[in-house]
């Protein structure tokens, strides 16, 4: 029952739906399958009728066998077999059709949810972990379908119980009341059990997470443990955790294992009571032996549905909550909204920020009244402390976020009026940690231009560092990059990302340079690659490398969303202002002369 606590974390886009809204939503998804639904409902009713009829026919048969003898045997046996067979057929129809309906509904909900996710802007992805989004699209949709399965099962079981009880009342009221007297005990036991179970399940989940994190830590740090020969100490720690996990899981297991023997015991007591009182009343007359036997058989049909009714509500609510989470995901409002579908014959790449106001969250203004004109073809480096607004400028040009005031114009046109897909196809963006899709280097370079020929890809790759970077890849362009590019080094991923951009041949290039340092050989190759990309196109570089800054046409120094200095590296350094301070903080140790300075420093000590 681990599912009890799964995925219940709330997100800020979650909303409460009224029962009516939720029902209408769910019904809406099932509407296309009305005919199949009707068949399923019919099958459930008939199936329950037949399952009720079997013990009744048998008990009647036993009575009539005593009165009428041999002649009734064959008809009764045939009726029992026929009832069982058709019950099977209707059960089959119900389950097979049910699987189809649920499969289709889940598919539709999934597609809607995924579509909705793709339409969100980046602020959405910043706020929510990808794993959680995915679990809404894949797991919650499945959990939501459980509501339907559960309801169908409950309906058929309830129907069976109701039909059986109704019939039993017509046979003997007193025995029916004895049978019913058992129900509250069973339901109460099941409910009490659920309360205890919830607690031990939580404990058990916690301790499993503990084991998992311990293993993760040891395995990740195994080389440290080996280097220092501390395996025994690490093992002793683990043994503590493992023993604790054993004790807690055992306690949880005892709760779960205890419930069924206890419920069985209760139905046993009920059976004994029925045997005695039913027997006495039969002996007194007014009840046949067959009917007496029907009650005893009935109790077995009776108690299993009761235990599942007890757990139905909470599972049903979990399913509904899952549905609610999926709908909240589908209904969240996109923030980046285009006002038009404009396309231009070509993009030169002139960018203009006019009085732009921007914040990620309501209370943290990043840009207050930002003005900047970038000429077509210019290479612009942005520098500043963390939070100065460097990255925001690139992301606003990419239209990843909505800004709150002012205008951004590309070639004189308001960026909000463009056909977004068309516009973005003229941008090339390389992020700090370039993302690669599982596949080959080739397929990753091709990503932005699906119809590119191998020749074009080859040329784009050769354009960077004369293709020397391919030599260090085991299979050249056909090297597998692994999950998220994990088989390549960060530097190599940057090279692939640069080649991807070169192939796209964008008019505007935005680069958020990696802060991670890259080995000197790859660094040299990246610099050569950058030269190729930066040439002849408008470029905005959020710079972390000294060499990129030095090569820029213009350096913009940002502080708290304002441009406070601009110019070339040398002139800015000479001014001795904020740029000089930034240089001293971030870039000084990247210079070739750093060691000499350090030695002087050490000598002076």
């Amino acid at each position: 029952m681990g599912f009890l606590m799964d995925g219940l974390d709330a997100e800020s886009y979650d909303r409460k739906y009224t029962d009516k809204m939720l029902t209408r939503r769910i019904v809406g998804y099932f509407r296309p399958h009305l005919r199949k639904m009707a068949i399923v409902a019919g099958a459930i009713v008939i199936n329950s009728l037949m399952d009720t009829a079997i013990p009744i026919v048998i008990s009647r048969g036993i009575d009539r066998l005593q009165l009428e003898g041999e002649s009734v045997i064959l008809p009764i046996a045939l009726i029992v077999a026929a009832l069982a067979a058709s019950s099977w057929v209707f059960n089959f129809a119900r389950r097979a059709l049910g699987a189809q309906i649920i499969g289709d509904v889940v598919l539709k909900v999934r597609e809607d949810a995924f579509d909705a996710v793709l339409k969100r802007d980046l602020s959405f992805y910043d706020s929510y972990a990808s794993g959680k989004i995915v679990s809404r699209v894949t797991s919650d949709t499945q959990a939501f379908s459980n509501v339907v399965t559960l309801t169908l099962d409950l309906m058929s079981q309830l129907l069976l119980v109701v039909l059986l009880i109704a019939y039993l009342f017509t046979v003997d009221v007193r025995l029916t009341l004895i049978t019913l007297a058992l129900a509250p005990f069973i339901v109460m036991t099941a409910l009490a059990f659920r309360r205890i179970a919830r607690k031990v399940v939580t404990d058990s989940r916690r301790v499993r997470a503990l084991v998992s994190s311990h293993v993760q830590e040891t395995v990740s740090g195994i080389s440290v443990a080996k280097t220092f020969r501390q395996e025994q100490a690490v093992y002793d720690d683990f043994l503590d955790v493992s023993k604790r996990a054993y004790r807690i899981n055992l306690r949880a297991g005892f709760v779960f294992s205890g419930i069924f023997p206890i419920l069985n015991l209760m139905s046993g007591i009920g059976t004994a009571a029925l045997v005695y009182f039913g027997g006495v009343w039969t002996q007194e007359g007014g009840l046949t032996a067959g009917s007496w036997f029907l009650f005893i058989q009935g109790i077995a049909l009776f108690w299993f549905p009761l235990t599942s009714i007890a757990s139905f509500w909470s599972q049903f609510q979990l399913g509904l909550a899952a549905g609610e989470r999926v709908f909240a995901l589908i209904d969240a409002d996109p923030k980046v909204v285009q006002t038009d579908n404009r396309r231009l014959p070509k993009v030169d790449g002139e960018i203009q920020f006019e009085h732009v106001k921007f914040s990620y969250k309501d209370d943290e203004q990043v840009l207050h009244d930002f003005n900047l004109h970038i000429r077509a073809g210019e290479t612009l480096a942005l520098v500043g402390h963390t939070g100065a607004g460097k990255s925001s400028i690139g992301k606003l040009v990419a239209r990843f976020y909505e800004f709150q005031g002012g205008t951004i114009r590309i070639d004189g046109v308001d960026v909000r009026e463009f056909d977004l897909e068309w516009y973005r196809s003229h941008l090339g963006i390389v992020t700090q940690t370039p993302f690669l899709f599982d596949g080959t280097v080739r397929s990753n370079i091709r990503y932005g231009k699906a119809n590119a020929t191998n020749d074009e890809i080859e040329r784009a790759a050769q354009h960077i560092g004369g293709g020397d970077w391919l030599v260090s890849l085991p299979n050249g362009l056909d090297t597998q990059v692994g999950e998220r590019g994990a088989s390549l080094s960060m530097g190599q991923r940057q090279l692939v990302a640069l080649a991807r951009v070169l192939l796209q041949n964008p008019s505007i290039f935005i680069l958020d340079e990696a802060t991670a340092s890259v080995d000197p050989l790859t660094e040299a190759l990246i610099q050569e690659g950058l030269e190729a990309v930066l040439r002849d196109r408008t470029s905005i570089v959020i710079a972390h490398r000294l060499s990129t800054i030095k090569d820029a046409d213009r350096i913009i120094v940002l502080r708290e969303g304002d441009i406070i200095e601009q110019g070339s590296h040398d002139s800015l350094l000479e001014q001795g202002g904020h740029y000089a301070e930034l240089y001293n903080t971030y870039f000084r140790h990247q210079s070739l002369e750093y060691m000499e300075q350090m030695l002087e420093l050490a000598g002076a000590d």
């Binding site: 499969g103 598919l107 040891t218 020969r229 990419a398 971030y586 140790h589």
Partner: protein, 623 residues
């Protein structure tokens, strides 16, 4: 069973049978055989009583009908008085018997459930601990090839599957076997002829269930596989959403997801169809009709009484439960065995190193020699024919692209890896002849991504020397320029790494690792200084610490800092596992085009390239 070499063993641990998954599971169960045997006998006892209740119900019916027959006859004449005088009414005794039988069966059932649960939990804990010991003993080569996530899944999910295999997997198997066998036994005791239909039914059931599981399993497997594929693909799209949006590729990702979701739907519906078509239940219904016909015929022929008929019907009805639960138990058992297979594969994986307790033990002086060293995994070589010599106290910078083998080269020095060809000598002794503890405790490596355990900072610094005093620890931290920032935390040295709010920056981690190294006072130091995102002030501190550390120690330096490379005594240039150049900065600028390329973009004057020399001097300090 051969004893595998291992870098770590626990003397007290039991040796289990590793031949195959089932034997392995069984050898773990055998460790708890008392509980296992108790559990099994309790199950039998519980079933004997539980099924006997149906026999008693039949007898109760007999008692009722008997007195009923007499009472109905007499009823017409003298009213109901007779039934009270009916001699030897067995009903109360039988009813009490039924109560007793149910209570006994319930108690046995409870004990068997609890003992099975204990067995299941012990199996989980036992296999988890065995796996863990085995992981600690594996070589680094092994760990490099395993993904942390996979091993984690094994130590948590797969061992949990083993738990599930016992409870409810084995529980269901016992329920099926005993749930068929014992009622049928009672039926046979009631009347041997009656057993014909149930036995035929069970035979049919075995055939049908086997067919059912052979149809269901591949579909269920592929459904799970499709689900994880759909999940992984969606996760990838969302993680890479910036690229997706920047390249305007949303339609393509949408199509990909729809394709995956549809494939999954296909298998879901198919599985639903197969499950709905579970034939044993249909056969059970038919058999029930035939069994009734058979028993009733025997009644009318006088070979069976009504009590027998009722007992028989009750017993036959008990067969419904085991018929039904077979749906679940096969999947559980198969998943459990699959998990056991995965774990066993890891436990059995060969590891090439052992502790070499009797090996060479001495104080290291610091001379390092590589003689034609090659190293590779099964799927390709990483280092090829590398030779060089380093004098004690020298600093060696290793330059090369990521993945060229720099890190691997340094891992051969402390025998984290073992050279596949050639020899690595420390002070003239082959590392494979050194006692592993003696060797490793004198070589410190500071990794690129410094790994710290979730313990206090003091514990982390003292990791290699657990008996160090607080004064030792602080001295080491001061030498590593870490003392000041450690004191800036609220709990100082007692700050627990990784807890809320105390995430350490890369620079801070590196300095703690340096303190760790200072404390263990190694003779050879390996420094992978490729730290990311460090500001100049932090770099100043780190450089101070490193310079202090280098004094009097042989140092291997993997660094991205050009300024540091220039100052090394010797520079090794590695490309694709080969040593392409070796020598001092000045020498390499003159001889290596690779090396020159690095400095090409800086405003320094490059000496002319002496082409002919590059090939002529691959080794600066020939062996």
């Amino acid at each position: 069973m051969s004893i595998q070499p291992s870098e770590f063993t626990v003397a007290t641990s039991h040796r289990y049978n590793h031949q195959n998954a089932i034997r392995w599971i069984f050898s773990h169960i055998w460790q708890n055989r008392v509980i296992a045997i108790a559990c099994f006998s309790m199950t039998i006892a519980s079933y004997i009583f539980f099924s006997y209740a149906q026999v008693l119900i039949g007898q109760a019916a007999g008692a009722i009908i008997e007195s009923n027959v007499t009472s109905t006859v007499l009823d017409a004449e003298t009213g109901r008085a007779i039934s009270e005088t009916g001699t030897g009414n067995a009903l109360p005794a039988i009813a009490l018997g039924i109560l007793g039988v149910f209570v006994a069966s319930g108690l046995f059932d409870l004990v068997r459930s609890l003992s099975l649960e204990t067995l299941a939990q012990r199996l989980e804990a036992g296999t988890r601990e065995e796996l863990y010991i085995s992981l600690l003993g594996k070589s680094q080569t092994f760990h490099d090839r395993q993904r942390v996530g996979d091993l984690m899944a094994m130590a948590t999910d797969d061992v949990f599957q083993l738990n599930m295999l016992m409870n409810p997997g084995v529980l269901f198997v016992m329920d099926i076997i005993l749930g068929f066998a014992i009622p049928v036994l009672y039926i046979a005791m009631l009347n041997l002829e009656l057993a014909i239909v149930p036995v035929v039914f069970i035979l049919a059931y075995i055939v049908l269930v086997r067919r059912y599981s052979s149809q269901l399993n591949p579909i269920a497997y592929r459904q799970r596989e499709r689900f994880s594929k759909m999940n992984a693909a969606a996760e990838e799209t969302i993680s890479g959403i910036e690229v997706v949006k920047a390249s305007a590729q949303e339609p393509r990702e949408r199509r990909r997801f729809q394709r995956n979701a549809r494939l999954f739907r296909g298998f879901y519906v198919k599985q639903g169809f197969i499950e709905a078509r579970y034939l044993p239940l249909l056969v059970f219904g038919a058999a029930f009709g035939i069994a009734f016909w058979h028993a009733a015929t025997m009644v009318s022929a006088g070979r069976l009484d009504i009590a027998g008929l009722i007992g028989f019907v009750g017993l036959f009805n008990l067969l419904r439960f085991p018929t039904f639960i077979a749906i679940f138990c096969f999947t559980l058992i198969q998943l459990g065995i699959a998990g056991a297979d995965r774990i066993l594969k890891i436990i059995r994986a060969e590891t090439e190193l052992d502790q070499n307790i009797g090996g060479h033990t001495a104080a290291v002086n610091g001379e390092v020699v590589f003689e034609n060293v090659s190293f590779g995994y099964d799927d390709g070589s990483v280092l090829k024919d590398i030779s060089f010599r380093v004098d004690p106290g020298q600093t060696v910078a290793i330059v090369g692209q990521t993945g060229s083998g720099k890190s691997t080269l340094t891992d051969l020095i402390n025998r984290t890896y073992e050279a596949t060809k050639g020899r690595v000598l420390i002070d003239g002794v082959d590392v494979s002849e050194w006692n592993l503890t003696s060797l490793r405790s004198q070589i410190s490596k500071i990794e690129q991504d410094v790994f710290l355990f979730s313990r206090t900072i003091a514990d982390n610094i003292a990791f290699g020397k657990p008996n160090a005093t607080q004064a030792d620890i602080e001295l080491a931290a001061k030498s590593a320029q870490a003392h000041d920032f450690i004191l800036s935390f609220k709990d100082g040295y007692q700050t627990i790494v990784g807890e809320r709010g105390t995430t350490l920056s890369g620079g801070q981690r590196q300095r703690i690792a340096l303190a760790r190294a200072f404390l263990s006072d190694p003779r050879i130091l390996v420094l992978d200084d490729s730290t990311s995102a460090i500001d100049s002030a932090t770099e100043d501190e780190i450089q101070k610490a490193i310079r202090k550390m280098q004094e009097g120690r042989t140092t291997f330096l993997i660094t991205h800092r050009l300024s540091q490379i220039r100052w090394a005594d010797t520079i090794l240039v590695i490309e694709r596992g080969e040593l392409v150049a070796c020598g001092s900065h000045e020498h390499l600028l003159r001889t290596s085009s690779h090396y020159r390329r690095i400095f090409a973009r800086y405003d320094i004057e490059l000496p002319p390239l002496e082409n002919e020399l590059e090939a002529a001097i691959p080794v600066a300090n020939p062996v």
